[in-house]
């Protein structure tokens, strides 16, 4: 059901240059997706991003996550550079099985957690058998 509820989760993309910034790149954060009876949980790795710098939008059935991290030590000489992640972007298609108005997000230690609650109609239900 989760694969249907999140019809498309784009895989980790290759760095995409951001216009206007020579070395800036955007990458898709890696995600873990788990499903419980009540909700779908998405964990996204976004190291270096603070809660103020993350923008989560839900529009036309598409949930987009955008995070921006600022460069540290821009003034210093670089001795070795292995990553140059300045932005994170990823989008998810969310079906009507998710109660979009109750989506919640929290950011801790560089990990964004999204709670996507299921609508009542699709929650599994235990049916009592009458004797």
């Amino acid at each position: 059901m989760a694969e249907q509820a999140l019809e498309r989760a784009n895989g980790p993309a290759q760095p995409i240059p951001v216009e206007g910034e020579t070395r800036a790149v955007t990458v898709a954060p890696r995600v873990d997706i788990l499903e419980t009876d009540d909700e779908i949980l998405v964990f996204a790795d976004m190291p270096g991003v603070t809660a103020q710098d993350v923008d989560i939008r839900f529009e036309n059935g598409e949930l987009t996550v955008h995070g921006r991290r600022t460069a540290s030590h821009p003034d210093k000489e670089k001795a070795a550079r292995e990553f140059e992640v300045t932005s994170y972007f990823r989008s998810f298609q969310v079906t009507e099985q998710i109660a979009a108005d109750r989506i919640e997000a929290e950011l801790k230690n560089g990990v964004l957690t999204l709670h996507l609650p299921k609508v009542e109609a699709v929650k599994p239900r235990r049916i009592a058998v009458k004797g």
Binding site: D32, P47, E77
Partner: protein, 141 residues
């Protein structure tokens, strides 16, 4: 909606990575990152600065070692989220032990290394040892 995301080669590489992850899972191998977490290094006259992306890691379980004055080792463990009664749908985030070792370009003072963990990034400030600091030599007439 986002036509620039169509990157055929990138998709192929992604597909290979996913396949390799599936193989690891099939044969019960613990997934490990190829080189460990990525590290950026900067330097000024007094310090060397290192940053490693370690999202969702318990800082108490991260070990930072400086040996022989210029061998920097960072090791720790990443664990997968545990949610009661949950079923995994997709797992892309790496788990397991990681070790990263680099040779710093200069000797540093191992006793004065400052390490802090902020927003999932480990930030190290390693003061250069006195011998490694730049010195201005005055030319005698």
């Amino acid at each position: 909606m986002f036509p620039f995301r169509r990157d055929q080669f990138g998709e192929l590489v992604g597909e290979f990575n996913r396949m390799s992850d599936e193989f690891n899972r099939l044969f019960g191998l613990r997934p490990t990152a190829a080189v460990g977490p990525l590290m950026n290094l900067w330097a000024d006259d007094n310090n060397v600065y290192a940053e490693l992306d370690l999202p969702g890691v318990d800082p108490a379980k991260v070990e930072v070692l400086v040996t022989e004055g210029n061998q920097l080792t960072v090791q720790g463990e990443r664990t997968a989220p545990e949610v009661k009664g949950a079923v995994w749908v997709r797992q892309e985030r790496p788990v397991g032990r990681f070790t990263r070792q680099v040779t710093l370009p200069v000797l540093v003072d191992a006793d004065k290394v400052d390490a802090r963990y902020e927003y999932g990034v480990l930030k190290l400030t390693l003061p250069k040892s006195e011998a490694a600091k730049p010195r201005k030599i005055t030319v005698k007439a």
